[in-house]
């Protein structure tokens, strides 16, 4: 799946509310079908970005944590 990712949103070391804002900006720019990967370290955003995606009816393809960072992958539909 990773080879289909079109945009990476880097939120490493960002604090509230930047990860949400950067994710939204990427969504506004994206075209239909694009796959976006958000990476970050802000703990609460790992829970809150999925809330925003749910509010916008966007489905998460994958999310997880590795090496002190988290990632969230979703597709624009």
């Amino acid at each position: 799946m990773s080879e289909n990712i079109t945009t990476i949103v880097d939120c490493i070391n960002d604090n509230c509310p930047m990860p949400l804002i950067k994710t939204r900006k990427a969504i506004m720019k994206a075209k239909q079908g694009e796959i976006i990967k958000v990476i970050g370290t802000h703990e609460q955003s790992y829970e809150e970005i999925p809330m925003a995606l749910d509010a916008m009816n966007l489905k998460i393809l994958d999310r997880g944590k590795e090496n002190g960072q988290w990632y969230i992958i979703f597709q624009i539909v």
Binding site: D14, N15, C16, P17, L20, K25, I27, M56, N57, I76
Partner: protein, 144 residues
């Protein structure tokens, strides 16, 4: 893009000109915009005074300002923990499609001209009718 919350809306009155309260208003505003909800910020009284050019810099902390020393410390800590500045949050708010409405009654009362305000941020001018009309079509409203 299908967004089930496309038409949801929040209105926020920014009455306070305090640094921390304006910051909260912009953080909450950006949060809702990030969830695909429309947001209108109505700046009035001291809030509108802070929306004058250079106003964010002059804004004081609502508590423990200590002649600016408290604000200096908070600003240092905001930087240390990588929190965006009010200016960055305000620009982001506009970029995400948020509306900033300046209260034209306050402008008359305080003798504020359009060119005194941050025209790069203000999108419209209005009074209480505008706020009430928009709030009737909103999910909720905050007074800060």
């Amino acid at each position: 893009m299908s967004q089930k919350d496309k038409n949801k809306k929040i209105t926020i009155i920014v009455h306070s000109g305090d640094f921390d309260k304006i910051m909260s208003a912009f953080i909450i505003g950006n949060g809702f915009l990030s969830m695909g909800v429309d947001v209108s910020l109505f700046f009035t009284f001291w809030g509108l005074m802070a929306l004058k050019k250079g106003g964010f810099k002059k804004a004081k902390l609502s508590r423990m300002n200590f002649c600016g020393l408290g604000k200096l410390m908070i600003k240092k800590r905001l930087k240390k923990y990588n929190v965006a500045t009010i200016d960055e949050l305000a620009k982001s708010f506009v970029e995400l499609g948020g509306k900033i409405i300046a209260c034209s009654m306050t402008m008359q009362l305080m003798g504020i001209k359009k060119e005194d305000l941050r025209e790069d941020l203000v999108s419209e001018y209005g009074t209480v009718g505008r706020y009430c009309g928009e709030t009737l079509k909103s999910e909720s409203s905050l007074f800060i």
